[in-house]
Amino acid sequence: MAIKITNSTIISDGRAFINVDNVQGTYGNLHASPSSVTSNITMSNSIQTCIMTGNVTFTLSGGDEGRTTALLLDTGSSGHTPTFPSSILWVGSEPTWSGSRYWQITILSRGTYQTGTAVGYAGSSPTEAVTLGGTTSSPVNNFDATGIEPFEAGWRFKADGNVYKWQHPNNAGGDSETLYSTTQWNNITPSQTYYIKASNYSGTVNLNVANSDTLNTWIALTGTREFNVYDTRDSNSYADENCVMKIEISANSSGSPVLATGYYKVSYVGTA
């Protein structure tokens, strides 16, 4: 049976102490229950854990003055970037989150603002590397069979730093979009804006201008950039076809210097 004081339960049937107005004394084996956080840091929870699987913008709630919470943050092997509310005042300045993988962050609420301290631990995030695959003689291949016309397939370079194959579902065996590599074009979530340029390099057919992002131009890799072959012909009218595209990446919109060059191929079967 619950224990009540003037009709307010202070010890529930589950042996939980609730509605506690004040506690005085000493404690021994007493621990905060850790809770898991996705993006909202609740100041009423003492210990919170978060394993990031992508960049996260955190929010705060329950920030009554005097409350303290510890956030045990794992930015992941890819070094995802956390963004915290501007109401948090950091000791010195906001830490460089890419400097470590694991962070113990303590936040103290002052009501309208919070103070934050952070300690980073080993397991440093990998150094950002921009690379591309394939060579002129051995480009990375995306092979598909023709199906319901038109045939469409290509390569996608996304803002998450990964490279994807694209095969239209109407192709025979077309897999739609599939992840090809998390290490090519960027091994981590990009730390800045990069620029990509695609151009036709060799092959029997060219990239389709209408179904691709702008060719032969440096364009910001801030969204999905895709470069596709689009063939409206009856597959009985042509033999095997292929297109090799040259992909370049730079940190500057001018394209200088080029950080990485790769060659990506689309090949498909014709039955003529």
């Binding site: 589950g14 506690v23 004394g25 621990h31 210990i47 113990q104 980073g120």
Partner: protein, 127 residues
């Protein structure tokens, strides 16, 4: 007389709260009990104290996610070296503090259990 909930004591005859499942509310003058240890860092003990009289190898027990403890460590004027279990990781590049640094004798070592096997620690030293 102890207070029980469904036959389980929640406040014993010594006024100690036991078997609690949760507590929600505010606290005022509420402190962890400091206990002297020898070589076992017990994550069930909120505040531990130890004065080294020789080089000492510590072990850790009761590691569970979210548990936090403090160790008030005195390496003595002789600067005896502590050795820590591999479950403990140190900030930055993982290098341990310089325990026998000149002029530093007293250390406040904080432990936080990140999971059930890993403890991440901080340490601040004074003379």
């Amino acid at each position: 007389m102890a207070i029980k909930i469904a036959g389980t004591t929640v406040i014993n005859n010594s006024r100690a709260v036991t078997n609690m499942t949760d507590i929600a509310g505010n606290y005022g003058q509420f402190h962890g009990t400091a206990e002297t240890i020898t070589t076992v860092l017990d994550m069930n003990k909120p505040v531990m104290t130890r004065t080294l009289t020789a080089a000492t190898t510590f072990t850790a027990t009761n590691i569970a996610t979210g548990r936090c403890c403090l160790l008030l460590l005195n390496v003595s004027a002789s600067g005896h070296l502590p050795t820590w279990p591999s479950s403990i990781q140190w900030p930055g590049n993982g290098a341990e503090p310089d325990w026998d640094a000149t002029g530093v004798q007293h250390w406040l070592v904080g432990f936080t259990c990140w999971d059930n096997t890993t403890i991440r620690a901080t340490a601040t030293g004074w003379g």
